[in-house]
Subunit: 394 residues, 2 copies
């Protein structure tokens, strides 16, 4: 087991600014490979979209996102982890460093909960100019039932030294970003990590984790954007100084430009989305809806509190949506409203407010990495007198 | 139960050229919404890529593609099918029309087999000019273990009238394409449908079908491109004239231009792909490999026969790959070869030949819809003296 000091040293050597290569003229390693653009999309963005796939918005009709439809972010390749040889190693500023096999973890009391995760970059491609990275539109959000053991239970076993300030979570995935090779590593302040519902999850929707979701073990941090929920977890280290790895110090920041140190991305901003009504056109995805009473359905969530209300805007006129029962503290909340659809083209909007008083902005707040864009969804819909097999578009 | 004549009538009314709307000046409904382009990618293509996701190429290391990593094509929205109310209806030119519940089907003798499916559009975005539709690069291929009952067993129960020429398979998914609303429907000649290993599958990799893969029942047609394996199957009709639905007559054709009637896409052309060695760069996906002996691994498949050989090209020099054991008749075949990687940039190619004598072309064969591009993969790789955490790109 490395000592905590050696680990801190190794992490700053690996990914910190003092030793990192400089991929650009700037002194700051860049998480994004190019400057924001107003142009069309490049092949790299298409490849990222096809790997790190979205949840198709019609899946908002499902309370729990089925396996394989949960949105996905993998910075690099999916690692093949041998679950027999695998151990979770806990070290650094702890009282008793320890290792746990998967069987060790499964033998402990388990906890299950529905958790809505959202990628911090969800909505990035709607910004102008567009930050060039994973080109999310709206679908970087999903809700699964996660099962595992509370992180706090394991940390109670190893104990934390009083000078520990953060826990650093390391994944088995590695690759290059910002010009330097590193493993995916993120930290949480001790208080956030061990108070509450942070989970070491080994099941998703009642099945062992799939390889792409972090098999055999991942962190699930309810209320935080997905970058905090480290996958393929194999090491937790308590550290006595703030972690400065690449994915913490340079990626996932709210910056105004490349040299702005910015603020870290943390909790999920309040947001709502609508399942497209009617049936879509293959290429444009525009929903085509028959005239008459149409039930609009969607989900809303916030990392800052419970959802208090959802408003639906029909061509600029606001209607209150009806909220489903709240489903635990960490899962999205369903909503619905009936729309009397009249022939023609319409714009549908949904806008949520949480009980901390946060409300979605009508326009995106631009930032350099394209993070945490929670502006309202605007859905352009065509209503025809009727829609059945053989109906032609006007 | 509709009569066979009425069904044929309804299908040509629905989607045939005589009654279809004309979305363009041409008399031919267009499966693609725009002409081929040499430009960058539009938002619609990015959205399609994020819905209809690829199998990331490192998953070639898995013999069976895990749930959720299998490539996905959904022309429209994923339908929510109630498995209790659902029935498979078999009618048209059969002796005894019949309906089957899911329990009826599960009570019959089951069959399992590994089947490699590939989207007919796989490789589309590598064509110049690029047909504008689902923008596949390489990842539209996967292999799952499918379980269900042979179609021939069910057709033996209903019987086929001697004048039946095709079976038409109808899915529960519907939407607009080519300007007209229709359900997804495809036919197979009777001989192809009832002789051999065509499966009505209700399980994938030992689990009930996931919603996006066709729950509760789908067709699996080994050796054919994926468009034949109709999902969310709810009706099979025997017909006495060739089926002329939109997805048969206009989509999935090898055309030279929009007005060329073209040839139908059928079986999967011979192809091989390589799992990227080393570790990737996040944005460019370029593999970075340490110098020395590197095992290259991949898979190869063909709908026309078994794989006979795979050659690996290193900077234009060909080496024979070693083939894994053949895994059934319908699953891809693994291959590997050891590459002595030397510092610098290299181009890696793989090229398969099947036992019917088909070999992959070195350059794509262009066609208007971007179908069946089985040209060799060309992988640009950077070799560094060593690669470990902290290694900087040159």
């Amino acid at each position: 087991m490395r000592t905590e000091e050696a680990h801190h040293q190794s992490m700053t050597t690996t990914a910190g600014p003092a030793h990192a290569a400089e991929p650009t003229a700037s002194s700051t390693p860049r998480p994004h490979a190019a400057e924001p653009t107003t142009g069309e999309f490049g092949r790299e963005e298409v490849l990222l979209a096809s790997r790190n796939h979205a949840m198709p918005l019609e899946l908002l009709r499902w309370e729990r996102t089925p396996a394989g439809m949960h949105f996905l972010v993998m910075h690099w390749d999916v690692p093949m982890v041998d679950p027999v040889a695998w151990r979770l190693k806990i070290g650094g500023a702890v009282v008793e460093p320890a290792e746990f096999s998967l069987a060790d973890l499964r033998a402990r009391d388990r906890m299950s909960m529905g958790v809505t995760l959202e990628c911090a970059g969800n909505g990035r491609s709607l910004l102008q100019p567009r930050p060039v990275s994973q080109p999310w539109v709206h679908g970087g959000v999903s809700t699964a039932e996660w099962t595992g053991i509370p992180l706090v239970a394991l940390m109670d076993e190893t104990g934390l030294r009083p000078d520990a300030v953060e826990l650093v979570f390391s994944g088995a995935d590695r690759g290059f970003q910002g010009g330097v090779a590193h493993a995916y590593e993120r930290s949480l302040p001790v208080r956030a990590a061990v108070s509450g519902d942070v989970l070491l999850a080994y099941e998703m929707n009642g099945q062992p984790l799939l390889p792409q979701h972090g098999f055999p073990l991942r962190l699930v941090v309810p209320g935080w954007y997905g970058m905090a929920s480290v996958k393929w977890l194999d090491r937790i280290d308590a550290v006595t100084q703030a972690f400065e790895g690449f994915q913490q110090r340079f990626a996932y920041r709210l910056q105004q430009d490349a040299d702005d140190p910015g603020e870290p991305v943390t909790r999920i901003r309040v947001r709502s989305l609508m399942a497209p009504p009617g049936i879509p056109d293959f290429f444009s995805r525009r929903p085509i809806v028959p005239a008459g009473a149409t039930k609009l359905r969607g989900r809303a969530w916030s990392g800052y509190g419970l959802i208090k209300s959802v408003q639906v805007g029909i061509d600029g006129r606001w209607l209150p949506a009806q909220l489903d029962e709240q489903d635990g503290r960490h899962a999205w909340r369903g909503w619905s409203c009936v729309w009397q659809a009249e022939e023609g083209d319409h714009e549908l909007i949904c806008r949520a407010e949480d009980d901390a008083g946060n409300i979605q902005p009508l326009e995106p707040e631009w930032n350099y990495q394209g993070m945490a864009n929670n502006a309202v969804q605007r859905l352009q819909v065509t209503v025809l007198p009727s829609v059945s097999d053989g109906t032609a578009l006007p």
